[in-house]
């Protein structure tokens, strides 16, 4: 199995063997984080541009650390205080950056499909770091890596994704990745936040939290965006939290080895009770640590080979 892609735009386009290849490479990258000298010369002389049109701390930092540990030069470009504010189009900005010969452009954008547009126009590798409500493939990969580490395998596991599935690019990447790896996925949330046709992705739908998590090996809690309430999709934060928030009491009847995951940033007291976020079930910080390893693997796979 050899990596052939120029870009990483979604998990929908990857097959199980490709996902496994990224996870295996990530596993090797984790060792570097344990070293005293956290640097290998692999991407020396390569340039990675972080092109972030949306606020992000975790993902941008994670890509930056990943690039630096591999010895790449990492340049951060954020839309605020830049030419984007002066009205330059996405493509014009990207073409200008390309003129400076980067090897990888990591892009986050509020518009679904923006990374795919760039990938078509740029000769360098493009990594989707989250586009609108479409996908966030490296998050999906780090979730799979975390589950595989904790459970030893992926196939046959039951995963329940709880919350605002409709607006979540994380959920979409997770669902595609998990289905390809042979996992059973249930989505649960108020009907206003569950996309109407999501059964077509091969997932089960539940509108009762207790029922949805009863047999889960993994519970993935999604962040509730406060804007959803203003949009009238949920009555109030308090009611959402009471019905869909995860508390220790609701976890009681669940499997004793259940994993609680969250893509961050956590709304403590809304979707996750603080005592759950800090409990032994929670692998939220493992997810963050694995994020660096996954992004190292992705940068490595996209920059190394000449294949085109």
């Amino acid at each position: 199995m050899a990596w052939k892609r120029k870009d990483l735009l979604s998990l929908q386009e990857l097959d199980a063997a490709e996902i496994t290849e990224v996870l295996d490479a990530s596993e090797s990258m984790r060792e570097i984080a344990t070293r005293e000298i956290k640097k290998v010369p692999t991407l020396r002389g390569k340039t990675v541009v972080n092109l972030f049109y949306e606020a992000s701390t975790r993902t941008r930092t994670s890509f930056e650390i990943a690039g630096k540990w591999l010895s790449a030069d990492v340049i951060n470009f954020s839309s605020s205080g830049s030419s984007a504010e002066k009205g330059e189009s996405l493509l014009d900005t990207a073409k200008n950056i390309e003129a400076m010969s980067p090897d990888v452009v990591v892009v986050r954008h509020k518009a679904s499909g923006a990374p795919a547009l760039l990938a078509r126009h740029l000769a360098c590798a493009v990594v989707n770091a989250g586009d609108g409500a479409h996908e966030h493939p490296t998050q999906g990969l780090l979730d799979l890596l975390t589950i595989r580490q904790k459970k030893g395998h992926l196939d046959g596991l039951n995963v329940t994704i709880v919350g605002d599935v409709a607006h979540s690019r994380v959920a979409r990447s997770d669902i595609h990745g998990m289905r390809k790896m042979g996992m059973t996925v249930t989505v649960a949330g108020p009907p206003t936040l569950i996309p109407p046709a999501c059964q077509e992705l091969g997932v089960k739908v539940s509108h009762r939290l207790e029922e949805a998590i009863a047999h889960a090996d993994v519970i993935m809690m999604l962040r509730l965006q406060h804007e959803r309430m203003e949009g009238g999709l949920i009555p109030s934060l308090r009611e959402y939290s009471r019905v869909w928030g995860l508390s220790l009491a609701k976890l009681q009847p669940c499997r004793p080895d259940v994993l609680i995951m969250h893509p961050g940033p956590v709304n403590r007291g809304v979707e996750l009770a603080p005592e759950v976020a800090d409990s032994r079930y929670s692998v939220i910080l493992n997810q963050v640590a694995n994020g660096v390893a996954v992004r190292m693997a992705v940068l490595f796979l996209l920059t190394g080979s000449k294949a085109a």
């Binding site: 290849e21 090797s28 060792e31 070293r35 290998v40 490595f300 190394g304």
Partner: protein, 183 residues
């Protein structure tokens, strides 16, 4: 490119004798196993390192520590490869400081792998000394690197390939020279 076998260089018994001799030479020079470490270069170098460690244990009554080094992230030819090589991970569960590290690999050719392995080791610590043991030295060095312990010196042409087969991976112990099938 496909290859066909040209000649067998080592059979099972000869391969075993070569490793036994290397084990004796390592012990003789190191004067004991206490500050000795064998580090195999993945994949077959690791297997050879374990075999040599067993032989040293039989001679000395104590086994040196063994580690595994993956040099993929240190290669200088990543951009030249048509396919991205697989990263297999480094496993060295002991401090290198103050130890004599014997790098173990199956075939020594251009020396670039060993250059990468030395860089990788240096990132993990500061060994007292690094030495090199190879089962086959086939010549054609491109860097000023020379092995300390050699199983077999094997003059080859550049277009030939040397295949080391080990029971753990290939079900049989033997070393063969291969030549390209097309002229």
């Amino acid at each position: 490119m496909t290859y066909r076998e040209k000649a067998q260089v080592l059979d099972e018994a000869a391969l075993d004798r070569a490793l036994t001799r290397i084990a004796h030479e390592i012990v003789e020079q190191a004067g004991g196993v206490e500050h000795l470490a064998l580090v195999g270069i993945k994949t077959r170098g690791v297997t050879l390192a374990h075999r040599i460690a067993e032989k040293i244990a039989a001679i000395e009554g104590a086994k040196p520590v063994v580690g595994a080094l993956d040099i993929t992230l240190y290669r200088d030819d990543l951009a030249l490869k048509a396919e991205q090589p697989i990263v297999r991970g480094t496993e060295i569960g002991f401090p290198l400081k103050g130890r004599t590290v014997v790098l173990v690999d199956d075939v020594l050719f251009t020396g670039r792998t060993i250059r990468a392995a030395m860089d990788a080791l240096m990132d993990l610590g500061r060994p007292l000394a690094i030495r090199l043991a190879v089962l086959v030295d086939r010549g054609h060095r491109e860097l000023p690197i020379r092995p300390d312990y050699i199983g077999k010196n094997l003059p080859t042409s550049r277009r030939e390939a040397v295949a080391v087969m080990l029971k753990e991976h290939d079900g049989i112990d033997r070393v063969v020279i291969q030549e390209p099938t097309e002229a």
